[in-house]
Symmetry: D2
Subunit: 296 residues, 4 copies
């Protein structure tokens, strides 16, 4: 039987538009946010506001969350007023936050003891993708649970893939940040070399983006970096939080990632300038300052 009642916990930059897309797709939506005021636009559009994660779960066949870190997920899911206290046996919890695979697996195990299934389903695509409903969603958990939730996920994303068992979604998100971080470094080094060698970096971007060295980062963030637009699509300090998770997962699985470790250090050089809330395209300035002259 198709899912109708859906809940959403964490109505922020990502969660807000994701929840709005669920509403637009016709689901009956119950929401909760630490700062209740953020729920108002959704309530105005037809959602019901609950008093706690527990209440959201009690009202929903599928309860989603999108919060900041592992601690938040543990509290939302397992806290005194958490999902685990309200969710009916047979219901599903879908966490879209970026946390460690280990935490995801632990929470999943705890919920399973109450016959509540869980998917770890982090997303990629930024606030733009959240609004447009074009997120990439990488889900870990049981295959049949994923299939049951597919319509819910497809209301929020364009590429929705079941990537493996519990925790696999978070592993794939880690891979996503590895690849994204190094593609940003690729952009930074290419732009800096063009500048240092006296060539217009915009011309460089135009032709390099069209060929085998092209990437989403080069096409989308390269031009922003060139015109000095460092407004965040995705903030350096959030990228750093994710890279710390990545390097922790890598350490636990004995995976040496020398490139990713370098990217992490270069973003630190941006944070050293007090620019942790700039967008990740700021990495261009980390490479740039290495090559700057005495007056630079």
């Amino acid at each position: 039987m198709a899912i109708r009642r859906v809940g959403f916990i964490g109505i922020g930059i990502m969660g807000g538009p994701m929840a709005a897309n669920l509403l637009r797709a016709g689901f009956e939506l119950t929401v909760w946010n630490r700062t209740a005021a953020k729920c108002e636009p959704l309530v105005a559009a037809g959602a019901r506001a609950a008093g706690s994660p527990r209440e959201v779960a009690a009202a929903s066949e599928v309860t989603l969350s999108c919060v900041t870190n592992s601690g938040d997920v543990e509290e939302v899911a397992l806290g005194a007023d958490g999902v685990i206290e309200g969710a009916a046996p047979g219901s599903v919890y879908v966490d879209c936050s970026t946390i460690s695979p280990e935490t995801a697996r632990n929470v999943s195990r705890r919920l399973a003891e109450r016959q509540v299934a869980m998917l770890d389903a982090p997303v990629s695509g930024g606030d733009v993708g959240a609004k447009a409903g074009t997120l990439a969603i990488m889900a870990g958990g049981e295959a049949d649970v994923f299939e049951r939730c597919r319509p819910v996920l497809q209301a929020m994303g364009k590429t929705v893939v079941h990537v493996g068992s519990s925790g696999a979604g978070q592993v794939v998100k880690a891979c996503n940040q590895v690849a994204g971080g190094l593609n940003l470094l690729a952009m930074a080094e290419a732009i800096t070399l063009a500048r240092q060698a006296g060539v217009d970096p915009a011309k460089m971007l135009e032709v390099v983006s069209a060929g085998a060295a092209g990437s989403w980062m080069l096409s989308n963030l390269g031009p922003r970096a060139l015109r000095g637009d460092f407004a965040p699509g995705f903030m350096v300090e959030l990228m750093q939080k994710d890279l710390r998770l990545v390097l922790e997962t890598a350490a636990q699985t004995h995976t040496a990632l020398p490139g990713t470790a370098l990217v992490n250090q270069l973003f630190t050089a941006i944070e050293a300038e007090g620019r942790g809330q700039d967008g990740t395209q700021a990495i261009v300035d980390a490479i740039g300052k290495l090559s700057r002259g005495p007056g630079g």
Copy 2:
């Protein structure tokens, strides 16, 4: 007046299909190759074989070349039987090889003394792009010379951009290899993390390719690496030749490229396995062997 008589020197994996596209586009083509036999298919298709670069240049309004390294270009262009000895004042020499910006500028200066203009116009896109006529071509030199040659270049490439004055084409090619190399490292680290953490890397590629961490390398070479297909699109040893040029140009322009230097060292780890003629996707195994267990 539109160009009709075109020459091509260096009928190899890249030069062969590039010359064929010129013929197909209706240009009168004269060709030369060190190993003359390689010219035969073109001659069969209507080209004329010349006895030396000098003879090619004497017969052509625009003479192109695509050879291996700086030394080859110097010999083809400036040697005893080179382009400089045959080219008429007002004709153009277009070199599509990947060489140092410095060599490109030197050759250009020498030709200018004989009223022969030069474009440095390296290409990106591999043998596939050469055959399909979809190369990205990045040209340095005088703007009016570029405009005059545009129809010739467009017969071989889809993205044809004038990127600046003499040498600028080679600088942009260097930027292209910087970005391409780091995108390959991104692919390698993402695949290795997925494998080590027990997640199907094909699922990872599927979803990561669709989002902000996507790249041409991830979409096109990632799947090949996963199925152990290391046949070269572009060989590791040629990438290394290019990266050495990149790092030389970077050193001369005081540009610190820590990421690119790391990529260069990791390809060395592939060459150490006797795999210099594998495709560049082999970098996955350089990262992979760092994380391999004792029996690995």
Copy 3:
């Protein structure tokens, strides 16, 4: 008035010989260890065994500890049966463990509320230095507290330096691991280059150790690595624990350490071989495996 009654908590590979040196220097020693049996040799030599860290502190003017990580220190110092519950106002707690500067400062603040002073005094020199009483000891805390404790510290170490206020000892220990780790990488790359280029690495060590590129690591661990002796002076997995602390401290202080991050990744490559309990000289094999041929 000179200190006579001293306590020691954590009688392990380091703590055991450190405590024995205190006894030998004539201090009245009270000891405690989780596994009580480890205290027996000290008791046989004249120490008194206590039932808890609280009891040790109650009996001592200066209570030292040498345990594994931040959590251990917090429990030993602040736990229900911890130092804080037994230490008299005016007494001193000296922690010789390697933990985060932040934890050291927090514990210090908590003890100060009870008029108990604290020094963070991590050590360098390994079990050899602990036995010989030649440790380097880097102490953070109040200058007068340090002066009061100097005789105690000098019973265990040869180079005893007050490096700054609370937490500074741990910062300097972090710097020590940064320098040590990179000196190990220096050793690894030099040995590998010699081998690959067909030169006897022992001859290389002999002459390089004597000049401006010499280091303690090269002289002491280089020869061990050459003869395949990977018995631990200091274990890879403990070094990794320390490097994670270092990189955390670096992140918090916005310090980019690209070299140290690389060292951390290379040790991961050793852990991937199941060799976390080898000595740190094993890093030679991380560089070595990058350059190994197909049969290697």
Copy 4:
């Protein structure tokens, strides 16, 4: 029979004091330098000035040289007026320059055709060591030739080691620069972390130098870097020349040196500030500028 007549070509910062030590040791010395005036102090002290490398070789049983690069060595040894034209069969040519192992082997082969033996014997220890006669000398070539020349080498150096056959001296010098470069990076990262974390780096140097993380660089160049003394012991631009040789040798022997490649890039960041003639301790500022704030 003991060697008495010795020649020296290249009377510069290193060659000058090395030749003076030969004179002091009682050898009959013939000298030559491109700029003849530099020979005057030696002539005043008893040396004979020759008109060319050929003349030096004709007058000497052992002819030494200490010049800048591979090209210089080739000209001095094999040029029209070179050592090869004057050296008697059975005499020896000892080159103390830092050049590629490959060039050393080529020159050796050419001289062997005329029955002239060669040692490649690069040195470490700087102008200070050259003056004091305490250089480390790493010699490649035939063992009996080395033994014959030992008294000559010992007049200039304290640690004189026969490290292998022709070219081995240059390989060991490459290893020396690998280790030295990474020890410098160790120093730079340790100093920067201390500064960023608010600890006096002089205190850090004091205690870290005394332990297992100590090195010649930390003890000798660390204090200079701290007081902002960047006068060269060894210039950044000469280190970079050497590191380029190292990375070339590494590439040819398929040796991946990720740490050394990083050091090379960081020195580029110093050259970018126009400080190529500062001493190598300037690498502290390459790490430092990564962590500098917006006003830094």
